[in-house]
């Protein structure tokens, strides 16, 4: 009985899992012990049933688009609802047309802006002061302030 307590946990071990000496001792014990033999048979039957059941369940599943489904599930986890919406818009055929026209529209706007600005070379920030003395220019929202230094002869 003491041997059964030691050997039963080892029954059902996979091939190569136990050292050769221990595997041989287990085989000798199972061969000579009726209780452990029944245990081993029962375990083998159970494993066989489980294996058959798992195979049957697996066989019902269609794995033809397995990889595609895995990728879809990964994307669903990676991207939130907004990202999925954005992705669906980007991949939409209309967006492809818009993407082609957008650079043309942008270039047209740039060309119109450049042509419109070509006539007016004056820029409101242009300041030029020529003075013998020091001058200070202060910019404000309402326009520039120009300050000159004190007159030597006046001070």
């Amino acid at each position: 009985m003491a041997d059964c307590t030691s050997y039963r946990p080892l029954i059902g071990s996979r091939e190569g899992e136990l050292p050769p000496a221990e595997a041989a001792a287990l085989a000798d014990h199972v061969a000579g012990c009726e209780g452990c033999h029944r245990w081993a048979v029962s375990l083998a039957v159970t494993e066989g049933l489980v294996s058959e059941t798992l195979l049957a369940v697996a066989a019902r599943r269609d794995f033809t688009d397995f990889a595609g489904q895995v990728v879809a599930r990964i994307e669903r986890r990676r991207f939130g609802p907004l990202a999925r919406l954005r992705r669906s818009i980007i991949l939409h055929p209309w967006f492809a047309v818009g993407g082609t026209l957008a650079p043309i529209a942008a270039a047209l706007l740039v060309a119109l802006y450049v042509q419109r600005g070509a006539g007016s070379e004056l820029t409101a920030s242009s300041l030029e002061v020529n003075s013998e003395g020091a001058t200070t220019i202060i910019q404000s929202i309402d326009g520039p302030l120009v300050l000159i230094d004190d007159d030597d002869e006046e001070t």
Partner: protein, 167 residues
């Protein structure tokens, strides 16, 4: 990106094709010496309001009600008491100089150098100080230019307001 660059390069060329040039009305030939029409926005006379004001460091802070629009700009200066000495409205033709008299006997020369109807370049010249400023401002903006050095805490300024009525 490449499509944008190509389009940006081609469109200005397309817009300036001979067909587009032909569609523009040809301007009539101008007789020698004939002035540019006043209706043209570029070079048209610019309405300008010029004030001579006096700023003092001494005395209680004050700004006459008529000078209230200048408060934002004048607030940047150390002078606290302001008085308006004169105000004149001009319609300044381009390149024509107007002279403003100052209380000390000197004068300021103002010249509109360039105008496109939205921006104007005004030259403020102080002959006695050999100072010349060319300032470009937008429609409705104002130049405040010190025209005398400070003496006894007092200095004089000229303000030049382009298109004061928002014309």
């Amino acid at each position: 990106m490449i499509r944008f660059a190509v389009a940006a390069l081609l469109l200005p060329a397309l817009l300036s094709t001979p067909a587009a040039a032909a569609a523009e009305p040809a301007s009539p030939p101008q007789a020698p010496g004939q002035a540019t029409p006043a209706a043209a926005p570029q070079g048209a006379p610019v309405p300008v309001r010029v004030r001579v004001i006096k700023g003092s460091r001494q005395g209680p802070a004050s700004l006459p009600p008529g000078m209230a629009p200048l408060k934002q700009q004048l607030g940047k200066l150390a002078y606290q008491r302001w008085e308006q000495l004169s105000e004149r409205d001009f319609r300044m033709a381009v390149k024509k100089t107007e002279f403003i008299d100052l209380p000390n006997g000197d004068h300021v020369a103002l010249t509109v150098q360039e105008s496109n109807g939205r921006n104007v370049t005004i030259e403020v010249a102080l002959a006695q100080r050999n100072t010349q400023s060319r300032l470009t401002i937008e429609k409705g903006k104002r130049i405040i230019h010190q025209v005398t050095g400070e003496k006894n805490g007092v200095a004089y300024f000229v303000t030049v307001h382009a298109w004061p009525g928002g014309e």
